[in-house]
Every structure is written in C-alpha cells, then in structure tokens.
C-alpha cells in the first residue's frame, strides 16, 4: 500500500537528477549550507571578539566536531546505515598529518619505522591536512569496496570491526605510530580561522554530495530500497561513493583535531569520540545536514554550560557547584529526554531554510 504513495517522491527525485532540473535543485537547496555556515561564522566572530583563550579552544573543538559529524552525516544520513567505523578514518588522518608535519629530527627518533622520504618530509599544516583527507579517503575506498556489500546491522558491525582493527594496528605498530604512547610535536594551530574554513568546506562538500546524482540516488534507496533498485540504482556503488567522501571528510577532521591539540594517541580516536559524534548526529537528526550541525552546536553548548556549573557559579553570596560526574550524568539524561520526545532527532529529516516566499 505504501509503495503506491511513495512513487511520487521517488519519481520527483529521479526527475530532479536530470541536468536542467539539477541546477534549480542546487539553487533551491543552497540556502541550507549558507545558513549553516553563517551560524558557524557568527559563533567564530563572537569568539574572536571576546578574545578569551579558553573560549577560543572550546569553539575550535566545536568546529572540529562539526567536521566529524558532517562527515558521519554524508554516509549515515544519506545511506541510512549506521557506521561505527568512521572515527577510524579520523585516526588515519590525524596520524597522516603527524607524519607529514612533525620536525624530521623528532620524527626519526620517535617514529623510526617510517620510510626515509616520509621522515624527511615537512609540509605546512594545510597541505598536510589535504593529504591526510586524501589518505583517509583512499583507506575508505579500500575498506568500502569490501564492506558496502553488507547492509543493516551487519554493515554497522563490520564498520565497527574496521574501527577496532585500525585501533589495534595503530596501538601496536610502535615504530610507525608510537604505539599507545602519545605522538607529540605536531604543530599546534591556535587561530580559529582554519577550523572555520574546514567546517564550512565540509558542509559544502556534504551539500554538493547530497544534490549530486549519486547522493540523490542513495537517499532514494534509503527511503525506498526496492523501488530504487528496480529503477536501476546500484546501491553498493552509491554507498561506496558516500563512504569515500565521508571518509575523506573524517580524515580532514582528524588532521585538524591533531593540529588543535598537538598530540595524538590511538585512543583519542576510539569509542568515546565515536559515540560523542554519533550522539550529536542522532540527537540533531540523522537524516539531515542541518540536524548534524545543530546537534553539535547544541550539545557542545550544553556540555560547556554543565562544565561551568560543575566549576561553580556564584549565586549571590555563595557559589553553587554541581558534584563531580554530575555533568556527564546530566548530559546523558538530557540526551535520553530529547530522544524520547523527538525520536528522529531535533530536526528529523528537515533542513534549515528560509521561509518559502513563492512556490512554483
């Protein structure tokens, strides 16, 4: 019964994929990435104006997480397949930038197993970040070739196995990754602009993928798998495209995160980051780019507010401070409440856009 009604939106999508229509689709939807970028720019400008160092660092963290969550969205949001493995690509990106940017003298003592040409290389951070993204994208291509044949929970678990594999290898390959000990000496970038640019680029990549023929086909397959494959959508192939694009964005995020803190360990990019970023995406709304970005901003703001409460807030004469650990408990409870009230996330499948003035 439902197949009958849903014929219309799918037909609409396929029609939209044709050339002249695509241009109007781009014009119609570009307002979403612009609005999201403006939101991030506004946050950044406020930060720069306050000039506070710790606040600066906090907002850099937010921007890095935006890159991660947008990267997750590109695959999860468009394909509907939950992936636990993407933080693994962030790990690859972070180590790649470490290999490319650390001072050669430090590198040859800490990571003697690297090939000679890599030991001698020292690139500026932005070149390294681009290469890190490409490296992660290539890794995603290799893993994705194998994994994209799977669907549903089997695919989720397989991506999880990828994460665990990457973590195990990077935790034990001492001569190349330094094992579980921290790799130090990555140039720390303290200005906020590169992170803002990274986040905005990620948002526009996600938008461009979403309106591309591949992205449209993938979303059609997510909503109506049978109808989509009947109309010739090669689901594994379209998933692979999304997987590679999102893997590269995760690599970019990993590289920038490495430059924001200056050290990397394999466990920085493991379960806790996986769940933080996934939670932000799901709370914001898995099927929506705006949901991802808004999820990051809101949950980050919430975490920050709870931290302040934990540090103590003066109320009149006395200071009110939450007991330690309550911050995380409160965060967990708030997430559960949001999901109970809005099971498909704050945004659901909708995107932020301007109110329509004239339709048609």
């Amino acid at each position: 019964m439902s197949a009958v009604v849903s014929e219309t939106p799918l037909a609409g999508v396929v029609k939209a994929a044709k050339k002249p229509a695509r241009f109007s689709l781009a014009r119609r939807t570009i307002i979403t990435p612009i609005l999201l970028s403006l939101l991030l720019i506004a946050i950044t400008l406020i930060t720069v104006m306050t000039g506070s160092r710790p606040f600066n660092q906090t907002v850099i963290d937010v921007l890095v997480r935006v890159i991660f969550v947008v990267g997750l969205y590109i695959f999860i949001g468009n394909s509907g397949v939950l992936s636990f493995g993407h933080v693994g690509f962030a790990c690859l990106g972070a180590y790649a930038t470490a290999w490319l940017t650390i001072n050669p003298i430090m590198k040859s003592s800490a990571l003697p197993g690297l090939p000679e040409w890599l030991l001698q290389t020292r690139l500026p951070y932005w070149e390294a970040a681009v290469l890190a993204a490409l490296f992660a994208g290539v890794a995603a291509l290799i893993f994705g070739r194998v994994l994209m044949r799977l669907s549903g929970i089997a695919a989720s678990i397989a991506t999880f196995a990828v994460l665990a594999m990457i973590n195990t290898i990077y935790s034990n390959w001492d001569s190349v990754t330094g094992g579980t000990s921290s790799v130090v000496g990555i140039p720390i970038i303290r200005t906020i602009w590169p992170y803002l640019i990274g986040a905005v680029v990620a948002i526009f990549i996600a938008w461009a993928h979403a309106i591309s023929r591949s992205g449209l086909a993938l979303r059609a397959a997510r909503d109506e798998p049978i109808a989509a494959s009947a109309s010739g959508v090669d689901i594994p192939k379209e998933r692979l495209v999304a997987f590679v694009v999102s893997g590269a964005v995760m690599g970019l995020g990993g590289a920038l995160m490495a430059h924001s803190i200056g050290v990397v360990t394999p466990d920085t990019f493991y379960l806790s980051l996986t769940f933080t970023t996934l939670s932000m995406l799901v709370v914001g709304g898995m099927g929506s780019l705006s949901g991802g970005v808004i999820g990051v901003v809101l949950l980050s703001a919430l975490i920050q507010a709870l931290r302040w409460l934990e540090a103590g807030v003066p109320i009149g004469e006395s200071t009110f401070a939450m007991p330690k650990g309550l911050q995380e408990i409160a965060l967990g409870i708030i997430m559960i409440v949001i999901l109970a009230l809005r099971p498909s996330g704050l945004m659901g499948n909708r995107e932020v856009t301007l109110p329509r003035r004239n339709r048609g």
Partner: protein, 244 residues
C-alpha cells in the same frame, strides 16, 4: 446486543488515509465477509480491531467494552482472535508450541491446564494432521497445513470471534475448500462468530452470510452475500464504475 461494533473508524499511515469513517457491527454467531480490491483497507481494519494498527479516529467495542487503542493482548483476552494475512506461524517453534501460546492468557484461571489439554485434543480432533506432526517445526509445514495450524492456534485462545485475513491466499482451490469446510463445521460446533476478509466475493457467495464490500477505504455495499451476489451491482461497486 452486538458482539463487535465499529463506529466512524479512520486509519491513516502518515499522509495516506487507508480507512475513512467505517462503521458496522456484528451480532453473535454471525458470519461476515469483508471483500474488496487490493488497497481497500480491509486488512488495516482487521489489524485495527486487533489493536496492532492505531486508529486515527472512531471507536471500537467488543463484547460491550470499548477496545479502541487497547493493547493487542488485552483485546485477545476479551475473546477476539486474529488469523493474520500471510498466516504468521512461529516457524522455529513446534506445532504444539504454536498451539499452546494462546492458552497462556488463561493461565491464572483455575484448571487451565486441563482445559488447555482438552482444547488441544479438540483442535487435534478437527485437524488430525497437526497431531501427527505435533513435535515437528511449524516452519516446515505446507501453506495449507499452516493455514490449519493458525486456525487451530486461534481456537486455542477460546475466542468468541475469529477474524481471518485472506485464508485462501496462496492456497490451491481444493485446499481452500477444505479450510472453509472446517471453518463452517467449527462455527456450527462452537457457535463462533466469524469475520473473514477475502479479495474476491465468490467465496462469500458460496458460503453465504453477510457481506461488506469495501473500496478506497470505505464501505460501498453491505448486505446478504447471496443476494448481493447477482453480478451487476457488485461489479460496479468492486471496480468503481459510476454511471451518472
């Protein structure tokens, strides 16, 4: 007093309205066929009575109690037993286990164990094939045997009313005949009320009783199956020819 009464039932699946303002009632012991083309809303209606599909509006009463939006397990306790479309046997369970699930809700009553045993014997008497294979996996039965099993399973709950969704689906005509034979015998033996959904009205005309014809989520005809059975009116209703 009617055993089952629906008034102004509306069912929606997001944007699609599957059933719109449907009302009818059934007396005890009655046999009622609901027929109509694919997508008429017949199955949705049955599932709504059973409590597994939420209704968007209206009211359902069973045996003098309102059951709108009640949990399926509570509706079953009031004597409504459902044989869903596609039969839905528990394939990994044995045949006897399939039959016994429905007796669980009487487990708090005194003497349920002996009652369950005698119910089981009664079902086996009606469907001897089930007894032969009582410890076999239900998933391995043929379509016709599964249909017998799910009717037996519905009987085990000791219902007042059995609703069957397309008992002929996927069965050869002679097997369908057998299923109906048993149903008619059972109805006579136990004074059951039967609510049967079928796509075609041919079976209803053969068996007799009352017939409701649905199209596009609404009732278009309601009357005696045999009188409605004369061609034109029913064809017009079924295919929606409108001559005005």
């Amino acid at each position: 007093m009617s055993l089952l009464a629906l008034s102004d039932i509306t069912i929606r699946y997001s944007r699609l309205t599957a059933v719109r303002d449907v009302s009818f009632s059934m007396a005890e012991g009655e046999i009622l066929f609901i027929t109509g083309p694919n997508g008429a809303g017949k199955s949705s209606l049955l599932r709504a009575i059973a409590g597994v599909t939420p209704v968007a509006g209206g009211r359902i009463d069973l045996a003098g109690q309102e059951i709108t939006s009640q949990a399926p397990e509570n509706i079953a306790r009031l004597g409504f037993s459902m044989v869903p479309e596609g039969r839905e046997v528990f394939g990994s369970l044995t045949i006897e286990e399939n039959l016994l699930i429905g007796t669980g809700m009487h487990a708090n009553n005194r003497g349920w164990r002996t009652r369950a045993a005698s119910e089981l014997e009664a079902v086996y008497a009606t469907f001897p094939m089930l007894k032969e294979r009582r410890n076999g996996q239900a998933g391995l039965l043929s379509g016709g045997q599964q249909q017998m099993l799910v009717i037996g399973r519905a009987l085990m709950t000791n219902p007042k009313l059995i609703a069957i969704d397309e008992p002929s689906l996927g069965l050869a005509p002679n097997i369908t005949d057998q299923v109906y034979e048993r149903l008619i015998v059972l109805r006579a033996q136990r004074g059951l009320t039967l609510l049967i959904v079928e796509q075609s009205s041919a079976r209803a005309m053969m068996v007799g009783g009352r017939m409701i014809l649905m199209r596009g989520g609404q009732i278009v005809l309601d009357g005696d199956a045999r009188t409605l059975g004369n061609g034109e009116a029913i064809q017009a209703a079924y295919f929606g020819y409108e001559d005005h």
